[in-house]
């Protein structure tokens, strides 16, 4: 029995090595059943598969190899500042999931004065309604400068009272370089606390965050009534999320919906809220989308980001 266990442990260690070489999350490897092995991460904390924040949308989680890392910096981008509503709510939805799992924790939302002026201050009444985060659990930090925002974020990662930290800023400031994000990422990793870096109107640039998601708004679902979907109504919010960078390097665009009542993500049902074109008589040969494809934007942008 003992010999068997030792062999299993060796095997497990080898698989971890392979995972590290392949760039996967080594600590995610399940120890073989029957052994009580614990995979240790640096800092001496024990993690047993619970360090991933799964969104609950199967295809999306699969593309992220199980979900977002919990003790890590995750970047969430919006292409334009006017999409700040969508990117902020997608982040808050993730934070709400993180908070739901850890009871009695609060959320710190740090923003630079610039972004709060441009995109508006978080509104607690709406946050409670949409994400189930009560006002007592919320804390906002209005930092005059980016350096202050980063300082608050770094200091806040040590707070045990926080479930997640959101830093919101605008554009691509020079100070937020590889070093600054690396510091944040390390702090987040040491504390095992999610830090979300929300960047409005920013383009992709090399950072230490293992995951970058680009969020854009998507038409909301229809309200569901007893007699079916209510035409012309605005129901659960939806977001169109594309993976800009991840460990698995699997791209893709996902349409996810946030269910405000169950406080969970769900996949968008296939029925589109409004019919874009009428179906052809025989049900085959959908009309092609209007307009011409000018360029494939994903590939050149990646090259520009230096990856």
């Amino acid at each position: 029995m003992a010999a068997h266990a030792v062999a299993q442990a060796t095997l497990c260690a080898l698989r971890q090595d392979i995972a590290r070489i392949e760039g996967r999350l080594a600590e995610r490897l399940e120890p073989p059943p029957g052994t009580d092995m614990t995979v240790l991460r640096h800092g001496g904390r024990a993690f047993r598969g619970g360090d991933l924040l799964a969104t609950g949308v199967k295809a999306f989680d699969a593309a992220l190899d199980g979900g977002l890392s919990r003790g890590a910096l995750s970047e969430i981008h919006a292409v334009q500042t006017r999409d700040a509503g969508a990117s902020a709510s997608f982040t808050l939805a993730l934070a709400a999931l993180a908070m739901k799992e850890r009871q009695q924790r609060s959320l710190l939302w740090i923003g630079t004065a610039e972004i709060f002026r441009e995109a508006g201050l978080p509104y607690a009444a709406g946050l409670t309604q949409t994400f189930g985060i009560s006002p007592e659990e919320l804390l906002f930090a209005d930092a005059p400068k980016l350096a202050d925002a980063l300082w608050i974020a770094e200091e806040a990662t040590r707070l045990s009272a926080l479930a997640a930290i959101v830093i919101e800023l605008r554009g691509n400031p020079e100070r937020l370089d590889l070093t600054a994000t690396r510091r944040l990422h390390r702090r987040a990793g040491d504390a095992g606390r999610s830090v979300f870096l929300v960047r409005q109107a920013a383009f992709a640039e090399p950072t230490a965050a293992p995951v970058r998601l680009v969020v854009s708004p998507a038409p909301a679902a229809l309200r569901r009534t007893l007699t079916g979907p209510l035409e012309g109504s605005l129901g659960n919010p939806a977001f169109s999320v594309s993976i800009g960078k991840s460990r698995t390097a699997a791209g893709g665009r996902f349409l996810v919906e946030w269910n405000c009542h169950d406080l969970a993500f769900q996949e968008r049902q296939q029925t589109h809220p409004r019919r874009l074109v009428s179906l052809s008589r025989h049900g085959a040969d959908l009309a092609p989308a209007a307009g011409a494809v000018v360029a494939l934007e994903t590939a050149p942008r990646r090259a520009a980001a230096g990856r």
Partner: protein, 464 residues
């Protein structure tokens, strides 16, 4: 030079053609006097400004720190002379007597010798109005000695009670309190340096040392500090005062040192060390009873985890009161007033005073229509085209970009709170709209059609 006060400028120029004329600047004189009062803080916390050119220093209980009263006065005169001031000190046991002693260059007046010292002085030694003085002089009363023993009732009747009051104050019969310029720290620790401090690290080290000194006193009183002030006395006379607040009583030197570290880092360049600081004082401005916690045998928080209150204090020390906010629900229908973001360090009592937090918890349950997740700091005007006047917008232009509304929900009518405001506010009709790309906004039309003023449209927030 033989120039006198009241001499005409032409006369002065006639005598000394190369004279420089500088306009009197009362404001600058005042600033200098205030700076000087700040500097005198090193001798006693009780410093008051007297008139245009005087300072009162209440040195009760402070003199022994400087080797006695005479040594203290000598030290003060020497240091001020080094800074280029001509000082006339007066030392006595009453403010009135000290005033006279300074003006008439008397040596230190011991307690009980006031009458003797005052008697030969002219009446101007009593801080009297010029009119009253000339009135007294017109009846032949020229020196203080002539009124000390004069019958009081006729004097008071003729010249007013102020005369008697001033006399009694100078003699010490009536207690006179000086009003100190700055709040007096009820507990303070200070350290003098022969070699001035220049580096921020040294100052921080000194703060730790002073805080350790204060700790014993705080423990004796059973209190913890809530507000601290660090006074840095520069060699050349300038004084920097840096205050930090804490959200709960504190007495450990470590955390106090870290709070000052944040504050000093934030101030950074704004603290001009010049030639260095030769006196550093840490004063307790406010303290509340400190409740000792029973230490847990099992460590409650793992290493590296620190608690929220201290984090709040540090952010506050570095970035100011308004940097860390927490939302508080307010009983109001107007969206921008329904949630107030108050400084996180505020106590519940202060929050209620600010008009928030009055709601019991169950009432915060949102029962009305959807609210946005972000609200603009002030509603932004938009140009709207609607299909029907009262209907939802069909197109709108916001921040120089055009949007086409695909779906809209509303209106939700929010009438002004007539029981609170002055009737100037107008009714609002709110619409949730979604544009072509799926952005969801909160727009409202302010005012109704048919009113004298045409309705206007505003953008107030963004939905999830």
């Amino acid at each position: 030079m033989r120039l006198k006060r009241g001499l005409g400028l032409a006369d002065a120029r006639a005598r000394h053609p190369d004279i420089d004329v500088v306009e009197a600047d009362a404001e600058a004189d005042r600033r200098l006097l205030v700076a000087l009062a700040d500097w005198c803080d090193r001798y006693t916390p009780l410093v008051a400004i007297e008139g245009e050119d005087g300072l009162f220093l209440d040195i009760t209980g402070c003199a022994h720190l400087f080797g006695g009263e005479a040594a203290m006065v000598a030290d003060l005169v020497r240091r001020l002379a080094e800074q280029g001031f001509d000082v006339r000190p007066g030392l006595a046991s009453t403010p009135g007597m000290a005033w006279a002693a300074a003006r008439f260059s008397l040596p230190a007046v011991e307690c009980g010798e006031e009458e003797e010292a005052l008697a030969p002085l002219p009446l101007s030694a009593l801080r009297l109005e010029p009119a009253m003085r000339s009135g007294l002089e017109s009846v032949g009363l020229r020196v203080v000695g002539s009124i000390i023993h004069a019958p009081r009732a006729p004097l008071a009747r003729r010249f007013g009670k102020v005369l008697i009051l001033r006399l009694d104050q100078a003699l010490g019969v009536v207690e006179e309190a000086i009003s100190p310029r700055l709040p007096v720290a009820f507990l303070s620790a200070e350290r003098h340096f022969a070699e001035p401090l220049l580096r921020l690290e040294d100052i921080e080290q000194t703060v730790l040392m002073l805080a350790a000194t204060l700790k014993a006193d705080l423990e004796r009183r059973g209190e913890g500090v809530r507000r601290l002030q660090l006074a840095l006395f520069r060699v050349d006379g300038a004084v920097n005062r840096i205050a930090v607040g804490t959200s709960r009583p504190m007495r450990e030197p470590g955390p106090i040192g870290r709070l000052f570290h944040e504050r000093l880092t934030a101030l950074g360049e704004r603290i001009d060390a010049g030639y260095g600081f030769d006196l550093v004082r840490l004063g307790v401005l406010a303290a509340t009873p400190f409740e000792d916690d029973q230490a847990d045998l099992v460590a409650s928080a793992p290493d590296g985890e620190e608690d929220m209150a201290f984090f709040t204090d540090r952010v506050r020390a570095r970035l100011g009161e308004g940097a860390l906010l927490r939302p508080v629900m307010v009983e109001s229908h107007v969206p921008e007033q329904a949630v107030r973001n108050v400084p996180a360090a505020l106590e519940p009592k202060q929050v209620v005073a600010a008009g928030g937090g009055a709601l019991p918890a169950p009432d915060t349950e949102i029962r009305h229509a959807e609210r946005p997740i972000r609200l603009f700091q002030r509603p932004e005007p938009v140009e709207v085209t609607a299909e029907v006047p009262e209907g939802p917008p069909a197109h709108f232009r916001w921040r120089r970009a055009a949007y086409r509304v695909v779906r809209a929900e509303g209106p939700e009518r929010i009438a002004p709170e007539w029981w609170l405001d002055d009737g100037e506010t107008r009714t609002r009709d709110y619409f949730r709209v979604e544009d072509m790309e799926g952005r969801r906004f909160w727009l409202y039309r302010q005012g109704l059609y048919g009113e004298a003023e045409a309705p206007r449209w505003f953008m107030q927030g963004m939905f999830a």
